[in-house]
């Protein structure tokens, strides 16, 4: 307690200094901008408004990005150039091949499941009378971190040796239908899919809420008109609702792809990347922070980055298309 107070005091002081310092700098910048007149107004305004953002972008994004690219061609302590050997390792090492396959599986399976499940739920919820309660319940896992969710699911997949009682929920379910308890997390490739379920469980609520909002935004007169024309049920969904929410659907899908690509917490908490469940982000972490190999870690980061780019480009193209449609 004493200790807390004695360290908290100076920390608060530092926070105040930082906040007021920031405000003071802003005040000075605006004051300078305010004094500009005549022809100088436009360039000064550009610098004042774009300058800080550009500076932070350069310091926080562009410089580290290039640094990472350099590191990826260097050895473990970044002292020697090693050419493409880090990349060669990623694409030829048998364990790394498993990592790449798993990451591709995550990208291929998880986003489709979360988004489709979210859409399905959103459509059903839309027809319910009291939708707020089930919706909140489904959205709830979103409030739990992946680590928290993984700890919960560890009890579901738990398996104990013969001298300890079985407490796993999944084993219990299997037992009631006549099966035997199993060591679920060791069973590859099933274990990767079991980990994906955790991600889907957390993210489906998010997909549902966003898509549900999009469905609500479909103009009632269009729905009514199509109903008069005889569109019901699946046809209504296929020709009216889905086209109307298509762009939202794609945005949600893209978010999920990026999320699945970066997946780290679930794998780290559940298996630590063992038993054939390793993925790129987890391997990157253990290379940099556990095995202290900057080079391999940086190369993995670059591979992840390259994998995200197509998704981002697709997303941007989509946004642009939408703008031109309007």
């Amino acid at each position: 307690m004493n200790n807390f107070l004695s360290t908290a005091g100076p920390k608060f002081a530092q926070v105040f200094i930082a906040v007021f310092g920031f405000l003071a700098i802003l005040a000075v910048v605006f004051w300078i901008a305010g004094r500009a007149n005549g022809r100088k107004v436009k360039p000064v305004a550009n610098i004042v408004f774009l300058g800080p953002a550009a500076l932070l972008l350069i310091l926080g994004l562009i410089v580290p990005a290039f640094q990472t690219i350099f590191f990826s061609f260097k050895g473990e302590d970044s002292s020697k150039w090693v050419g493409f050997s880090n990349y060669k390792w990623i694409f030829t090492d048998p364990d790394m091949r498993r990592v790449l396959v798993n990451t591709l599986l995550w990208i291929g399976v998880v986003p489709i499941f979360t988004t489709l499940l979210g859409l399905l739920l959103a459509v059903f919820m839309d027809r319910m009378k009291r939708e707020s309660l089930p919706k909140s319940l489904l959205f709830m896992p979103m409030a739990i971190s992946f680590v928290g969710a993984s700890i919960i699911w560890r009890f579901v997949y738990n398996y104990s040796n013969r001298y300890q009682p079985q407490v796993g929920l999944l084993s219990a379910v299997v037992k009631t239908v006549g099966g035997h308890p199993q060591n679920w997390l060791l069973d590859k490739p099933l274990n990767t899919f079991l980990l994906m379920i955790i991600f889907v469980w957390v993210q489906t609520g998010f997909a549902m809420v966003i898509l549900s909002a999009a469905i609500k935004a479909v103009p009632a007169d269009i729905v009514e008109a199509s109903a008069l024309d005889g569109a019901h049920g699946f046809r209504l969904f296929r020709f009216i609702t889905f086209p109307a929410v298509r762009s939202t659907f794609i945005v949600v899908l893209a978010t999920q792809v990026v999320g699945a690509l970066k997946i780290f917490d679930v794998v780290r908490t559940m298996t630590g990347g063992n038993f054939g469940t390793n993925v790129l982000a987890n391997e990157m972490y253990s290379q940099i922070f556990v095995q202290f190999n900057q080079g391999k870690g940086a190369a993995l980061a670059i591979v992840l980055f390259l994998l995200v780019i197509p998704v981002l480009l697709f997303n941007m193209r989509n946004l642009r298309l939408e703008r031109s449609e309007r």
């Binding site: 473990e76 104990s160 040796n161 060591n183 060791l186 780290r268 630590g272 063992n274 556990v290």
Partner: protein
């Protein structure tokens, strides 16, 4: 917590008393509270300051200060100790920058060797050499030496070579604590015949899953071949695929991968090391090889004593020519200065007087054989000290900690996990680890 507070108050009180007393009566009678006889040899260091840098933090740090309070007030030397959780990173920086502490308490032989390479470390003075020759086994002296020269005396230590078991269950079943490796396996056979699980096992540890299995192999390697081969293995002169290490891995497999002894072998990979021994007291499984700190993982209220719910025995030897093999850890008092006061403090810290004084205060184990075993209050500490301070002990550090991180914190963990979880063949496991060894 309470102990550290007591320690802090005690030392503050002592300082205040000493100050007031010296103001009133002068130096001579200032130390009435202490018996200053043991420190008669430390002369001419009054008013001098010695700085120590360490990775040890409060509350342990305060207990250390309390342990040498009598020394400092009797001799008048001033010890300034500073602990940092960034010790391993900061020490090389400080030494390179010409800002080395007088003494550093280095917890890894690898870091000690790196510091000696800088040329800034002083060889141990005569007083330290005498103490270490008298109180420590040769293997401890070896660990404090680099290139045949002795630099650093051991300070604290801890022990991994323990097997946790339940004295109550053993008494109920008529089992006796084994003293040889074969005796341990014979006992396990007996337990299996009684339909009991002999060994508990869990190597799960989040991102570090696999480390307990690396300890099992290390224990077996030092027991089969002794310190020299063990050190050659750390430096990769002896590879994992060397017949010696393969044989040791087979010995581990016969022990911890024997379904007769452990039940479901694969479950060891998915069980966390903390959970592994939770049913020992209730007789679920009977024995767990785990370090001395495992006691704190047991449920609160577990009676840990030679006749209680849970206790530990020394993991037996395999090869009679390797005497008292012990795996563990410890710190080494390394000097960057040869000023007389620094050498005096260095000699004091390596003495049985300091070690006993420290043991009297709190949980702590010394490999100093001058500490009477009766001084230890905690039974596990006393058991550890018995083997750590054995004059014939063959002491080794954790090998995986000393290997390059790509192996010791990488491939060895994941391959050993695959060894248990997937039944991967020993020679494939060994080959994969050798392949991951960084090329110099």
């Amino acid at each position: 917590m309470t102990i550290s507070k007591k320690g802090r108050f005690a030392s503050a009180g002592v300082a205040a008393v000493a100050l007031i007393a010296s103001m009133i009566t002068g130096v001579g009678s200032a130390h009435a509270a202490y018996n200053c006889d043991p420190f008669a040899g430390y002369k001419g260091i009054k008013g001098k300051t010695v700085t120590i840098f360490t990775s040890i933090l409060d509350p342990e740090l305060s207990t250390m200060k309390a342990a040498w309070a009598d020394f400092t007030s009797c001799t008048g030397v001033n010890i300034k100790i500073e602990g940092s959780n960034q010790f391993e990173a900061l020490l090389p920086v400080r030494v390179k920058g010409g800002n080395a502490p007088d003494l550093a308490l280095i917890p890894q032989p690898g870091l000690l060797a790196a510091m000696v390479k800088t040329g800034k470390v002083k060889t141990a003075p005569a007083g330290v050499v005498a103490n270490v020759n008298k109180y420590y086994s040769a293997s401890w002296k070896n660990l404090g030496s680099v290139g045949g020269k002795f630099y650093a005396a051991p300070l604290g230590s801890n022990m991994k070579s323990l097997v946790w078991y339940s004295p109550k269950q053993f008494a109920k079943n008529g089992y006796t604590v084994p003293t040889t490796w074969d005796g341990m396996l014979a006992l396990a056979d007996k337990m299996a015949a009684n339909n009991q699980t002999a060994f508990c096992g869990g190597i799960g540890s989040g991102g570090a899953t696999g480390w307990p299995a690396t300890d099992w192999l290390e224990e077996v390697v030092v027991r089969m071949y002794g310190q020299q081969t063990y050190n050659d293995w750390i430096s990769h002169k002896v590879k994992f695929s060397d017949p010696k290490i393969i044989a040791a891995m087979q010995k581990v497999a016969d022990w911890m991968q024997n379904p007769k002894y452990v039940g479901d072998v694969k479950a060891i990979a998915s069980t966390s090391f903390q959970d592994a021994g939770q049913t020992i007291a209730a007789g679920g499984c009977n024995m767990l090889q785990q370090a001395s700190f495992y006691g704190s993982q047991l449920p609160a209220g577990t009676n840990i004593s030679p006749t209680g719910d849970v206790f530990a025995f020394y993991l037996p030897t395999i090869n009679a020519s390797v005497t008292t093999p012990v795996e563990g850890g410890g710190e080494f008092t390394t000097a960057f200065s040869s000023r007389p006061e620094v050498q005096a403090v260095q000699a004091y810290l390596s003495s049985a007087t300091y070690a006993t004084s420290r043991v009297n205060l709190d949980h702590w184990v010394s490999a100093n054989s001058g500490v009477p075993l009766a001084a230890y209050k905690d039974p596990i500490d006393r058991l550890s000290a018995k083997y750590l301070a054995d004059p014939k002990s063959t002491f080794v550090f954790d090998a995986s900690d000393a290997m390059p991180a790509a192996v010791g914190a990488g491939k060895e963990w994941t391959e050993f996990t695959a060894w248990f979880a997937e039944g991967k063949a020993i020679k494939d496991v060994a080959a994969a680890i050798d392949a991951a060894w960084p090329k110099a």
